[in-house]
């Protein structure tokens, strides 16, 4: 086939609707003609075909090499026939010498509709691009159900993030970025260089905490400590920030009043804890300030677990993969954590024991998942189904109020997604 291209410029459809089953109901044969996902593209392809062929008859064939559901083909054919007819091309001419061969195709980035217009020995080609479809991800659940909602998507690695009333503050390896909410989602508005002088580890980590007044933050990355505040007195409000080299320990548990217990409101004081981070690697050294009185091994993550008995021991996930409780000056191994990855965060749900540990894990799946656990004694008991994530979980932390956690997920395409994860009871 010696295809020549129609010289018409290809354009994107002005309005493209996501391809979800619910959106297709109105397009079933006989339904009232409402704007559907294919109308714009069909009209544009018909435009190009008519420009090549001119008024007359042609035989129209359609084949589907894409993931467009086969029950959509009659709708697409009808639209094409209507649009061609409106442009003077009668597409029902079975006896016609001219053929319009439409192929519904796709590539990695988009859908592509291709028309080969065959007149005698000559074939000319027209193409229309469509945005790819997307599908909603179903959530599995049993008992407590975890749900995720994407807050932010970026091509830069996000190490930690804080929600404030003046925007999102994201810690990246070399910058702190302020995101403001626009009509089309969160957009980076201001970037502050951290001034990092040392070489970062390959798996860099960071922490960001709200300042007590809520108008500022304190952030840590390897060898640097930063603080920022929002100056509402400025005409349009303004963030200021400063960073300095620092080997100080990072705050890993914030002071707050946490609740535990099912049905009974029990206030347990969660004490602030600081731990020293190894800036050349990707873990904490095991040294706390002030000391915990126990010999804690190097660890990836730690969190304070509020128990119904009123105690709040520290849970640490060691770099050797062993999870332990630090309680009464001793290290107590925790069973049932074989499926845990390196990160966990404590989520206050009010369900069951009142708070759960949400841990990352990959198991045999291609992508990581999150799962909620309770720790009635020294064994972690799963209390939710795994929540599939769309890639590798690279960071996990609890929101300041503890009622949601945030996960950073790196996709196979090296995009970073910050997801808010919440839980609901009795599902």
């Amino acid at each position: 086939m010696q295809g020549k291209l129609n010289p018409m410029k290809l354009v994107w459809p002005r309005a493209v609707v996501l391809i979800v089953a619910s959106g297709l109901i109105g397009l079933a044969a006989g339904a009232a003609p409402t704007p559907g996902p294919w109308e714009q593209s069909a009209a544009e392809l018909a435009d190009q075909i008519a420009a090549i062929l001119g008024p007359g008859q042609a035989r129209l064939t359609i084949r589907n090499l894409s993931r467009v559901p086969s029950d959509e083909i009659p709708t697409i054919r009808r639209l094409l026939e209507q649009d061609l007819k409106a442009r003077g091309v009668l597409a029902s001419g079975v006896e016609s010498a001219n053929t319009i061969r439409v192929t519904l195709s796709e590539n990695l980035r988009e859908r592509l509709w291709v028309a080969e217009v065959i007149e005698g020995n000559e074939t000319r080609v027209a193409m229309v691009r469509l945005e790819p479809g997307s599908q909603q991800q179903a959530q599995a659940g049993s008992g407590l159900a975890l749900r995720k909602q994407t807050v932010l998507t970026t091509s830069e690695a996000v190490l930690a993030m804080l929600e404030t009333s003046h925007g999102l503050v994201a810690v990246e390896p070399e910058e702190i970025v302020i995101f403001s909410h626009m009509a089309d989602g969160w957009r980076g508005q201001k970037r502050f260089g951290i001034g990092q002088k040392r070489q970062l580890a390959r798996d860099p980590r960071g922490v960001i905490l709200a300042s007590p007044g809520g108008d500022g933050f304190e952030a840590f990355v390897a060898g640097m400590a930063c603080s920022g505040s929002y100056q509402a007195a400025q005409p349009e409000g303004e963030w200021t920030m400063r960073c300095a080299e620092s080997d100080d320990p990072w705050t890993i548990v914030q002071p707050q009043a946490a609740q535990a217990g099912s049905g009974t409101q029990m206030n347990v004081s969660v004490t602030p804890m600081k731990a020293f981070y190894n800036p050349a690697r990707n873990y904490f050294t095991g040294v706390f300030s002030p000391s915990l009185g126990a010999d804690v091994p190097p660890f990836y993550s730690a969190g304070q677990v509020v128990r119904s008995a009123g105690s709040a021991p520290l849970l640490v996930n060691g770099i050797d993969g062993k999870v332990a409780l630090v309680e009464d000056g001793a290290l107590k191994p925790v069973a049932g954590t074989r499926d845990w990855g390196s990160d966990f965060a404590v989520l206050r749900t009010g369900c069951g024991a009142g708070s759960q540990i949400v841990a990352s894990g990959s198991g045999e799946a291609a992508a990581d998942s999150l799962r909620a656990y309770e720790l009635p004694g020294q064994e972690a008991v799963p209390v939710s189904a795994p929540l599939p994530m769309d890639g590798t979980v690279t960071a996990l932390w609890a929101a300041p109020d503890g009622k949601s956690i945030f996960a950073v997920v790196r996709s196979a395409a090296d995009q970073y997604e910050v997801d808010r994860v919440t839980a609901s009871c009795n599902e």
Binding site: L5, T103, A126, K197, A412
Partner: protein, 436 residues
Amino acid sequence: MLAALALPAAARTRPHYGGTLRVEVEGDPWQQARRLIFDGLTRIGADGNVRPALAVRWESENNDHRWQFWLRTGVHFHDGSALTSAAVVESLNNLCGANCPWAAVRAVGSSVVFTGDSPMPNLPALLAGDQLLIVAGFNANGETSPMRPLIGTGAFQPEGVSNGVFSLTANDASWEGRPFLDRIEIAGHKSIRDQWLDLSVGRADLVEVPAEQLRQAREQRLTVVASPPVSLLALAVAGSGALANPNLRAAIALAVDRGALSNVIFQKQGEIAASLLPSALTGYSFLFSADRDLNKTRALRGGLTSPPLTLSTDGGEAMQLAAQRIALNLREAGFNVQTAGAPQHGDLVLLRLTLATSQPQAALESLLRAAGVATPVLASDPAGLFQAEREFLDTHTLIPLLYLPRAYAFGGRVRDLRLGPDGTPLLAGISLQDTP
């Protein structure tokens, strides 16, 4: 285009530091080592888009005739010398020959400026290529010498070669962060059989799996990671001499039985191709017919007596078998073809071209440059790319045959193995399971 990666059953933890990764390859270990030692101004991300590397940002002006790339600060070569714009210019001038995408390159402060006689819309992607990695250590004449080894800025630095094993050690000052591994050893010139044996007894951590042996590797329960089809098997046809007549070249294109190549030689692991770019990148590859048509072949020959032709290849056993099969196809169509052992010689050369990026415009220009066509690809939309492909393929100087995946098998202690967009393993990101 998802890699078929089998993951270990245990939960994933953060990567551990330390350990030595042992890699075995059939070819020259330098091919694997090069990407560990040197960096480009840009790199191609997993999503196929151009990402910053030694350059942190870039801008074009004058309709892509002028590009300015600003260098990352604080980067050092392995000998401790700073990466400067002058060093980058020296490297690019020494490495880029007559087929350069640009006409001139010069240092401007901490940036590098490229100017071209033609627009260079794909320059950021082309600068990620293996041929344009930034290298220091040339002598005054722009030559290399054994006394002055080439040095780079990469995550690993060469340690030496002993008994055919190329050793590299971690660069603690790598601008990308110190790699997890302490050391990588790459043993070259190992047969696939020996590689798989070494993997099975724990003497190797990462070995090659040729496309035609993918099925066998899975049957042997090797843990395999395979790329999407990124390696284009193509027949280069001399546009002069015995095949100066374009009808003869067109007849050759119609005489090859791609289906038999795919099914018999490459064990159905390839994607039959008649276009330069694979279907996954464009969605229009079906417009190029891959069907064998001996009637048309004869019609195009028009009774012309075929001159004696030679077909050569520089590949391994599968490539030799494929060359013999193609020669048989051509003889069936009336061509007088003999296979020759001398690589890269002859009227017909069976070769492999690698898809460097999944960004279609840059990928097409990169493939065309590899085929000796130095014209920039200006179109970015599917219609324009189709036209550019069509025009080149109508010359029948390169006949696409199959797209093949690249695959590797790895041992249980290898963590976070990912393949680059060209199907090569990203060794610098690997960590080992059993390191504390």
